[in-house]
């Protein structure tokens, strides 16, 4: 296979693999396509859950990140960048991954074709926490003029360690199976750490800078709602919603 350009999607590679070694069929790369739905896709409902992830106690002072090992990183920041492990504003905790953990059994949802963008910019991941559906294309971008390696270590889907040496590169990857969370890191810049929540339905959100989140389009039912945080663990609660109604949920994490 002659490569003619710098940007290759994983699906192109996977197709080439499938036809590259004749004789026996090669299974598609794990992470290449969504698993076949077990049941006919269900459309969502009309219910909305809104809520807030609350942080109680004194938030630790976020550590300043030393980027001096790579001038390309350092030069992009006028002021010091801090870690995003525990980010609290007005009592709201950012970067919690909130998702429906139970209550959707027997239902399946179409795999979105919408591309989820996962960028490397200023030697930080944007976003720090991302939610996607299993099989949904994730476009990994490098917006920095330096080498990043995207070291993804899912346990349910195929792991990969991808070199992205040049600014403007884009590579499409997918995570085939649900997994909360898939850790992503860069070994060149050890402060770079992100998490991707992979679920098999569209009912998830990442708490914003004020700690709030919104999950739309749920069918009526009783659900276990979970909030995952990288340092503070996972909390769950049961939420019952009527068709067309709305519900609210508050998760409270204590300072450790």
């Amino acid at each position: 296979m002659v490569r003619t350009n710098w940007i290759r999607s994983w699906s192109v590679i996977a197709v080439a693999v499938a036809i590259g070694c004749g004789g026996k069929p090669t299974p598609a790369a794990a992470g290449d396509a969504a698993p076949a739905p077990a049941a006919a896709p269900t459309s969502g409902g009309r219910t909305t859950i809104t809520g807030k992830v609350v942080f109680q106690g004194t938030a630790p002072t976020a550590a300043k990140i030393k980027m001096d090992a790579d001038p390309v990183c350092q030069q992009q920041h006028a002021a010091a960048v801090t870690t995003r492990e525990i980010v609290v504003a007005n009592g709201g905790l950012q970067y919690a991954f909130v998702y429906v953990k139970d209550g959707l059994a027997g239902k399946s949802f179409p795999t979105p074709t919408t591309v989820a963008v996962f960028d490397q910019t200023g030697c930080m991941y944007e976003p720090h926490v991302l939610g996607v559906q299993a099989g949904q294309p994730v476009e990994i971008r490098n917006s920095d003029a330096t080498l990043h390696n995207v070291n993804a270590k899912p346990t349910q889907s195929a792991p990969f360690n991808l070199a992205m040496p040049m600014k403007g590169m884009k590579v499409a990857k997918t995570f085939a199976k649900p997994e909360v969370m898939v850790p992503i890191k860069c070994n060149v810049h050890p402060w770079m750490q992100a998490y991707i929540g992979v679920v098999d339905h569209p009912f998830f959100a990442v708490s914003g800078s004020d700690g709030t989140f919104t999950i739309k389009g749920l069918p009526a039912g009783t659900y276990t709602l979970a909030a995952w945080h990288e340092k503070l663990g996972t909390q769950t609660q049961t939420v019952t919603v009527a068709d067309g109604g709305s519900a609210s949920a508050t998760f409270t994490f204590q300072a450790k």
Binding site: M1, C21, G23, A29, L147, A152, A163
Partner: protein, 436 residues
């Protein structure tokens, strides 16, 4: 046969493979592998702690050297290749002495140790591109790619494992890991040939920070990079003897062009200090030595790779040891020297702290105050020390050895890298020219 791009063909060539027999594989494993890799394959055999790098833990299912896509398991052929040829720069030998049937049974057994291997399928890399051959290699382009693709971030500008990210690298299990020194072809685990290097670039080295470039860089470029990497490998000469060249005058600086005429002797160095049964890792596994002599004076040039230039506490240091020509008992291995009752050595000790060298016959590494100063000139550039030391020419072919400390790694005293004894061939040019 092992050819890049020939994976499908080689799979077809391997025809008579036995039906998997886990009991047979287990038996061969216990006999041949368990001593290092552990009875249950956890990489924790009785000899494991004495090794750097440590033996693989087979239960993780993570294998570095594959012809398969990043993150996917090796093919059986990949494992067969590794078992058969061993891994350069490690204690893993080649096992071609085992029958092919036994090696296939070992592979079946190894795979049974890793639950993760049952869940994932090897994804062979579709194509490793076309080898342009030496004639098609564009070294300037390869060098540019080395810079453009960010290799220097870990491997360093000159490939000597001293990039700005090298110190913080960790493996998948959170343990510190060193980038490969790309100039040391002999210790590149997966092989030093361009085809081996292209394979590593395209598959990545799973379990380590080394990523795959298959998705982002055309194979043709990776071949050019690989030929460049091949060109920067040291042309090591492991002769065990250093030929001293005679000359009318001596080169004094490390970059004097006169050194080009002097043959080299390359030495391996290693750590011999164990704490709780585990070997203490030191940072200098290699040095290169040349020598030029006039009728009464000899100059040694010694080069070694060290990821950091350390003048502080502790400093980088080197000792050039000679067995003194004083008769009596001889020092055996330098590894355990000094210990009570062992004979003295003729030592030249150079320290980056002072930039000076002193020589004395000494029973310890702390030279007496009566030690004589020796002219020394050192340069540090791109991860390499280059040092010239001058002393009186020995009258007999005295065996010599090196001891090197990397101060940046906290090495001092017995925490050091040591070579074995090497011959000094003083008669080379004298025979040729009939002097004396």
């Amino acid at each position: 046969m092992w050819l890049v791009g020939g994976l499908c063909a080689s799979a077809a060539e391997v025809s008579a493979r036995p039906a998997p027999d886990l009991a047979a594989g287990r038996e061969a494993y216990v006999t041949n592998c368990a001593r290092c890799h552990g009875d249950q394959g956890h990489g924790d055999g009785p000899d494991a702690a004495r090794m750097i790098p440590r033996p693989r833990d087979f239960t993780t299912g993570t294998y570095k050297f594959r012809m398969t896509a990043s993150g996917t398991p090796p093919t059986d052929e990949d494992l067969f290749h590794t078992i058969s040829t061993g891994l350069a720069g490690t204690r893993m030998p080649g096992w071609e002495g085992l029958s092919e049937d036994t090696r296939w049974q070992l592979i079946a057994y190894l795979k049974s140790l890793a639950p993760s291997l049952a869940r994932a399928t090897p994804q062979p890399v579709a194509s490793f591109g076309k080898d342009p051959g030496v004639k098609g290699a564009d070294l300037a382009k390869g060098k540019q790619l080395y810079a453009d693709l960010g290799c220097a971030a870990c491997h360093g500008t000159a490939g000597r494992a001293n990039g700005p990210s090298a110190k913080t690298l960790k493996d998948d299990w959170g343990q510190p890991i060193r980038a490969a020194n790309l100039t040391h072809g002999w210790e590149l685990r997966g092989g030093e040939e361009p085809k081996d290097l292209v394979a590593r670039l395209m598959t990545g080295v799973d379990g380590t920070p080394m990523p795959s470039y298959a998705d982002t860089v055309p194979a043709a470029n990776l071949w050019q990079l690989a030929y460049y990497l091949r060109s920067i490998q040291e042309p090591a000469n492991w002769s065990g003897s250093l030929t001293v060249v005679s000359a009318a005058s001596l080169p004094t600086s490390p970059d004097d062009p006169a050194w080009a005429a002097a043959p080299r002797a390359d030495l391996r160095l290693w750590s011999n200090v164990y704490v709780n049964g585990a070997v203490v890792r030191t940072m200098v596994p290699w040095a290169m030595v040349q020598a030029v002599a006039t009728a009464d004076t000899i100059a040694f040039r010694i080069a070694w790779d060290d990821p950091s230039e350390d003048h502080g506490t502790p400093p980088d240091q080197l000792a050039l040891a000679f067995k003194p020509a004083i008769g009596g008992r001889e020092v055996g291995s330098l590894q355990s020297w000094p210990k009570p009752g062992t004979p003295a050595l003729d030592l030249i000790v150079w320290s980056a702290a002072t930039g000076t060298a002193r020589e004395a016959i000494s029973e310890s590494l702390d030279l007496p105050v009566t030690a004589e100063a020796r002219p020394a000139q050192a340069q540090y550039a791109d991860g390499r020390w280059s040092l010239v030391i001058t002393r009186p020419r020995p009258t007999t072919a005295t065996p010599w050895a090196l001891v090197i400390w990397d101060g940046g790694n906290g090495e001092t005293g017995r925490i050091r890298s040591v070579s074995s004894w090497t011959d000094l061939d003083l008669n080379h040019k004298e025979k040729d020219h009939g002097s004396h």
